[in-house]
Symmetry: C2
Subunit: 149 residues, 2 copies
Amino acid sequence: MAVQYFEDFAPGQVYRSGTVAVDAAAIKRYAAEYDPQPFHLDEDAAARSFFGGLAASGWHTASLTMRLLVDSELKPAGGIVGAGLDEFRWPRPVRPGDVLRVESEVLEARPSQSRPAQGLVKLRVTTLNQNGEPVLVMVPNLVVPRRET
Amino acid sequence: MAVQYFEDFAPGQVYRSGTVAVDAAAIKRYAAEYDPQPFHLDEDAAARSFFGGLAASGWHTASLTMRLLVDSELKPAGGIVGAGLDEFRWPRPVRPGDVLRVESEVLEARPSQSRPAQGLVKLRVTTLNQNGEPVLVMVPNLVVPRRET
């Protein structure tokens, strides 16, 4: 698939990803390294926690979202480089057995004031589980090169 | 260290973490699994990229930040459970050899309208490198239980 330059982005476009399945072993492996809290590591402790059962770390969900994005239809020239996020929330936890996919909708594409060779593309990235329920919603601003003319 | 309940949080408090050193191998290992873009995987490709040299994935920085938080002085009863973020940005990349630490400042503590047994604690979490420069700034809202009376 060809890469996309700033000029190729327009509001309303949707870029889709493949899927990734999340099992208890993957949840615990990420958590052991980066978020070792009981509700991400142990079913019994998780049952007694806020989550009511084993749940993926929100940062694991974010990491899996990034992997899905990198492998998705979204292929900005220069790579997926975020300047920051306008919004970031986890509407519900990711559970063992969930199958995740990502939809990225273009909200805005605007030239950079300070760097004429670049533009900023604002996306709404929604990570959905197998029931079509959002588990992560974020609004990043990507730095995207303009096509050389 | 004792855990903290909603009533223990007040604006202006700062909770500190230990440190974590980041090397090129760790950057590449995270990237290979979650963010396999050339500027996170290969020094030569990175030198020609937006980053001008090998840089950690922003989600790797976020994951390391979470690990530092879990091991920090911040010990909310019920764990570190975020309801979402008001702000999230990466002011500069993390490079091989960086040593990171986290400071969490309490911005606000307010009772939950819908759940009387909980409160929401808004923090500014700043991840700093060995030069005291911020590499990640986020403003999460944590769900924290009230002390049982």
